[in-house]
Amino acid sequence: MNYFPDEVIEHIFEYVGSHRDRNALSLVCRSWYRIERCTREKVFIGNCYSITPERLIQRFPSLKSLTLKGKPHFADFSLVPHGWGGFVYPWIEALAKGKVGLEELRLKRMVVSDESLELLSRAFPNFKSLVLVSCEEFTTDGLAAIAANCKRLRELDLQENEVDDHKGQWLSCFPDSCTSLVSLNFACLKGEINTGVLERLVARSPNLKSLRLNRSVPLDALQRIVARAPQLVDLGVGSLVHDPAMETFAKLMTTMNKCKSITSLSGFLEVTPRCLTAMYPILPKLTSLNLSYAAGIPGSDLIKLIRHCKKLQRLWIMDSIGDKGLGVVANTCKELQELRVFPSDNIGQHAAVTEKGLVAISMGCPKLHSLLYFCHQMTNAALITVAKNCPNFIRFRLAILDATKPDPDTNQPLDEGFGAIVQSCRRLRRLSLSGQLTDKVFLYIGMYAEQLEMLSIAFAGESDKGMLYVLNGCKKLRKLEIRDCPFGNTALLTDVGKYETMRSLWMSSCEVTVGACKVLAMKMPRLNVEIFNENEPADCEPDDVQKVEKMYLYRTLAGKRKDAPEYVWTL
């Protein structure tokens, strides 16, 4: 294609959206690299420390949308101590300095200060979309800045962030002239909001398609707000607490009846189960239902609800639904593609879920491709059945609450079960293991999981061989995270080149020593090998033979980072 003028190639590239494809294009030849980099508008950076913002801006002058991920995944489970890093401010500062025409910023597991949000709101006149997932350190003051200054704001999506609620009137900071909102999600905010202000904001946002409220919005306000936005496609109900005998409740039901477009429903952080009937008018059209925060709904009500949801494709629910409830899901939701079952707090009050529920789902929902399943037990037989019924798994994450529990029927480890999964699901990209597991499961994974990109292991394996099977076998592995496994220095050091083909490796509570990490760091200068020493004084050099509590290594072009806290040693 060398004889095509650049404009033609540019035009063709416009049709290529995915990051991977774009990355592939840029490797073909110099001119394609050049054309690709000048036309790329969306960039995805899976590890914010893998590259410097300056370098990014240099390569992609047309940058409009940036996605950044910060902390390692296990930070979600409190395994990464506070202050580790992942600060977004330097990025925003650099983008501002570089006069990038930023329109969209999506952050995950990053530390976002109010200053960053302030700067963000002022430096980019075309800024349209802010998505923050599992971030922290900002307050409603930062949100106020975004609301007040981003004149073209379309999307403000806050998912599961730790936000300090200063109880200011951040919602009031949206000027009357702001009518461009398409998506507003503040479900994770803990404080009260002014429902009158929200109502008016919704009323002047004709393009609003997605609205997710927090738990402070009472039922009457919910009714008024939804009444103003019958065009909604995605609704997050904060609270649904009321006496169904009240007039407002009847009004709500009428209002819901008028919402012909809602296909996604979530929230119910506070709920009186009787009030759920107000939602029944929209259930038959739902394709996505997230009740994973609705701790107040007993299993029987969940089941009643699910019976109406014949079109569901995505379901997030609590295990209070029970195996029986999952059976109902299997019979009703034939289009189901993604299922997540979260553990509830209730002990013994509700039937929890076991392998039976999963088997039922696999039999009833052949399109299932993504699973996150917290359960009390799992059997090899069940996993084998599931593997047979659902060969299309892309994500399979199993978390047995008792992390090393064997197959209760046979008392065997779950090697064979997971082996069946990887053998049958050739397109598997993400896998999380639990239960009693020996090295054998890793042999299976190494042999069969050819497309595997992310693997999470906990309390599994017997020897270094386990980890080696995986490192040798999974050619497409990008992220490997291991905790509490007997993998040691041999496993770590046998194939050091492998780590440059991966985004990152996390090992905690394993058998790896400081000395081995040092060797690795020396051999591979383009890796940052960080070890966390939370208990040693900062200036005390650990012995080479000492075991490392937590190690996180990642490939990088940015060199050793300068913002690491005292307890992080980059070797």
Binding site: D76, K167, K324, T404, G419, L437, S509, N535
Partner: protein, 370 residues
């Protein structure tokens, strides 16, 4: 099922036959496929004693002693922040507490329990997965990790004991700080668990989602985002607030005032009559009414007296209302104080104009209550 795969590596036919082996060798395959069949023997590995009110698909067991033990266990819900659940409606609450105290929470040996063959004798180690393959490995690990001086302080102590059903299911409810639990010795375990109770209400503690799994002592397991855990904890706490059942005996309700930038909370138990409450509120919200005072002839702060505020609050400007259990907004003062405390969920100082229409309902309500 445990036929080693190694022998068939690289051999296509061998692989296939192995697959077939995997699929068909299990004797329980048939039963798994027939979900409705009762061939699947339900075993109670968790020692879960499900209430008789729960559906029959839940495993049940007959061992009386064990049920006593475990029901006991479920009664002692140490882990859940703010959860007292005195209202738990089941047999679970019937057992006396003395039985519980007799048994240690984390028995080193499986309690005489014949329900499962998986009771490996006292493998004190959370690394059970590999410990049985490496004889003595786990033993050594235990010795190492039980020593607080090692570099692995956060590794769960061996005595966390990842055992299955012999563990009391209550143990799962211990959302204790792992470090606190982990570093205590076995003998101290029952006490440690109780001691940590006060700290369990702290939602910033690294709580594991309390599943009946007794191994929920481990940091970061089960792998649930802290945000999710905290959110659920708040939900259960709020549910209790609404019911007014707080262990401390306080009855905090939110007080909002129209036009004020933030809300306050008052403990209704601090007052024994309406005038006390009303003067407390006046004092609390005086800073907001000063602005209003300005429009009423420049009353300076010095001039604000209780009576003037009362006038403001009870005059045409503001009205004190409350939301009752039914969700209705009522005028404060109509019902006897005791009744008011029981039914009041939150207070609102409304502008007089908004309060029109409340009075009639209030009268109706108190009529229906009498």
């Amino acid at each position: 099922m445990s036929r080693p795969l190694l022998g068939v590596v690289g051999d296509e036919e061998g692989q296939q036959s192995h697959v077939t082996l995997l699929v068909s060798s299990s004797s329980t395959m048939e039963s798994v496929n027939c979900l409705n069949s009762s061939k699947l023997k339900e075993r109670n590995y968790m020692g879960l004693s499900d209430c008789s009110s729960v559906d029959s698909s839940v495993p049940s067991f007959s061992d009386e002693t064990k049920s006593n033990l475990n029901l006991k266990a479920t009664e002692l819900r140490l882990g859940l922040p703010g959860s007292q659940s005195p209202e738990r409606d089941s047999d679970l609450c019937l057992r006396s507490s003395t039985q519980f105290d007799e048994k240690p929470l984390f028995p080193l040996r499986p309690v005489a329990d014949d329900h499962h063959s998986s009771s490996k004798p006292a493998l004190l180690g959370n690394k059970r997965g590999f410990s049985d393959a490496m004889n003595g490995f786990s033993e050594e690990k235990l010795l190492v990790s039980s020593d607080a001086n090692t570099i692995l302080p956060s590794r769960p102590s061996p005595t966390v004991g990842l055992k299955s059903s012999s563990m009391l299911e209550n143990a799962a409810a211990q959302q204790a700080k792992v470090n606190e639990v982990a570093t205590s010795k076995v003998g101290e375990r029952p006490h440690a668990a109780k001691e940590t109770r006060p700290s369990l209400n702290d939602s910033t503690v690294n709580n594991n989602s309390s599943a009946p799994a007794p191994k929920a002592q481990v940091v970061g397991w089960p792998p649930i985002r802290s945000f999710r855990k905290n959110s659920l904890a708040t939900t259960s706490k709020n549910a209790e607030e609404v019911d007014g059942k707080m262990a401390s005996g306080a009855l905090f309700v939110k007080v909002s005032m129209d036009g004020a930038p933030y809300l306050r909370k008052v403990d209704l138990k601090n007052y024994s009559a309406y005038p006390e409450l009303s003067s407390a509120l006046e004092k609390m919200f005086s800073c907001f009414t000063i602005g209003q005072c300005g429009s009423h002839g420049n009353l300076g702060k010095e001039m604000l007296s209780e009576t003037k505020l009362k006038d403001l609050l009870h005059g045409s400007e503001y009205v004190l209302t409350y939301e009752d259990k039914d969700g209705d907004w009522m005028l404060v003062g109509d019902v006897p104080w005791e009744m008011f405390i029981e039914t009041c969920r939150r207070l609102r100082i409304m502008k007089g104009a908004d309060a029109i229409g409340l009075a009639p309902r209030a009268v109706e309500k108190s009529k229906s209550r009498n």
